[in-house]
């Protein structure tokens, strides 16, 4: 029962992937473009295998995940208290609310240039771009989550004797957790995009090999197979982090509260 249920959910996605792969293979076999511009899936796979054997794939993934992880953690450290202050102190919200919202819509790749000038072509610049790209989502998620706390729960907390910090600790913050998590999840996807943009642009001999650099190596050697492989790995890592970290976390929190989507 459970197995068939799982199959029923997975099969449509697998079919779509198979169709895409088939179309790709067909285009390659028909030589729509020369093979060096449009490699077949098997060529990309053998590039992947070769890169894997040399340790480039795991190396690039761990370098990029390390940078992304540090940047994301810093974004949480900055965005969380900022969001709480914006939600609870009107002056703070009036002062920086629209600025943070504007930052959210600004493509974070623009920060590569000031980063390079200020911090030089190194890991610090890359992390900087990730942080600036991700923290507005964290802050805005926290603001929205606290604003959406049902007034009834606040009344309940106050009538039970919770004031000030106690009201935050026992009512407002736990009530905001699902919305905060949604903001953090979105922030991760912003962090990952910012990371790739920064890695692609930042050039330095002593900079470790990240996924963005791997993709850029494909550009410099005109190796389409390597480029496509890098893109697929970047996609895979993004999906894996969401699937292994944020999705289970969200599901657990929501299921405990009996929130909608808990069964999905």
């Amino acid at each position: 029962m459970r197995v068939t249920e799982r199959l029923r959910r997975v099969v449509p996605g697998l079919c779509a992937a198979a169709l895409l792969l088939g179309a790709w293979q067909l285009a390659a076999s028909l030589h729509v473009r020369p093979a060096y511009l449009l490699p077949a899936p098997a060529d990309v796979w053998s590039t992947f295998a070769a890169q894997w054997r040399e340790g480039h794939v795991t190396g690039a993934v761990s370098t990029s995940l390390g940078r992304g992880g540090v940047g994301f953690a810093l974004a949480l450290l900055i965005g969380t208290p900022l969001g709480l202050l914006m939600a609870r102190v009107a002056t703070v919200r009036l002062a920086v609310g629209s600025l943070v919202a504007a930052l959210q819509s600004l493509p974070s790749v623009v920060w590569v240039v000031p980063g390079l000038l200020l911090l030089g072509p190194g890991g610090a610049t890359i992390v900087f771009v990730v942080v600036v790209g991700a923290f507005p989502s964290v802050a805005l998620g926290a603001v929205a989550a606290i604003e959406q706390t049902p007034p009834l729960l606040v009344d309940v907390g106050r009538s039970l004797g919770a004031r000030g910090l106690a009201l935050h600790r026992h009512v407002l913050l736990p009530a905001a957790l699902p919305g905060y998590l949604a903001g953090a999840r979105q922030a991760w996807s912003f962090a990952w995009r910012s990371l790739m943009a920064a890695e692609l642009i930042t050039q330095s001999a002593d900079l470790g090999l990240g996924l963005g650099q791997l993709l850029d190596a494909g550009r410099q050697t005109l190796d389409m197979s390597l480029s496509i492989m890098a893109i697929l790995v970047i996609l895979g890592v993004g999906v894996a982090v969401d699937g292994l970290v944020f999705s289970p976390l969200t599901r657990t929190v929501n299921r405990r509260r009996g929130l909608g989507g808990a069964r999905a």
Binding site: D155, G161, H170, P174, R257, G258
Partner: protein, 268 residues
Amino acid sequence: MNRVLAPIAALSPAFTALPGPPAIRLDAVSRVFGSGPQAVAALDRVSLEVGRGEFVCVVGASGCGKSTLLALIAGLDRPTEGRVEVEGGRPALMFQDAGLLPWLSVARNVDLPLRLRRVPRAERVDEVERLLRLVHLDAVADRRPHQLSGGMRQRVALARALAQHSEVLLMDEPFAAVDAITRDLLHEDLARIAAERAMSVVFVTHNVREAVRLGDRVLLLGSRPGRLAGEFEVDIPRPRRIEDPAVGALALRITARLREEMGRHARD
């Protein structure tokens, strides 16, 4: 013999169930929302006293300021004019929605007021267990609120309110969303617990029979702006049932008075 008292004309009652000062005292309390031409008077010079250990029910049509009245007594809101005095610390409050914190188990919801008062952990464990037994929920202590029925949630809310150890219990249509059979059982439990603990209760409802079933006294709140429009003493011996003819008879008279009040308002 069913003895039903006539409505008392005077609006400042001197009834007290226990000797000593009243548990709640409202002195010409008005509450106006907004200002200028948009101002809406929710309550207009309401004066009332609730004696210690007395069970007072407040009935009235929707929008007559019943919830505003409770919020003022609970200290969640302040009157525009007049004075509110409550004895015995912060009143416990129950709403139509149980208002349980969905991320806490049943036991931890009941535990919260004890934690907020910094009661030592060992005492808290015992107290929560005792309270859950009192409302017949000891078997579901570890469940989450969303796994309970509406009636069970209100029992948890009652246990949590009792955990506040307040002498005053304020209830805002707490059983309005509960089915009739469950409500009957909840009435029994509430009446028993309130009597055992000699709690002073203000119970707001739009169900007149429920008010007569539970109250020592029923206050009628007229609408727009809310003001006291009548008062009925319920001199029916306990234990009562909602089906008792005496309960029905008094409920009919209160309902008639309520209709008069609403009719007067409609003609305005």
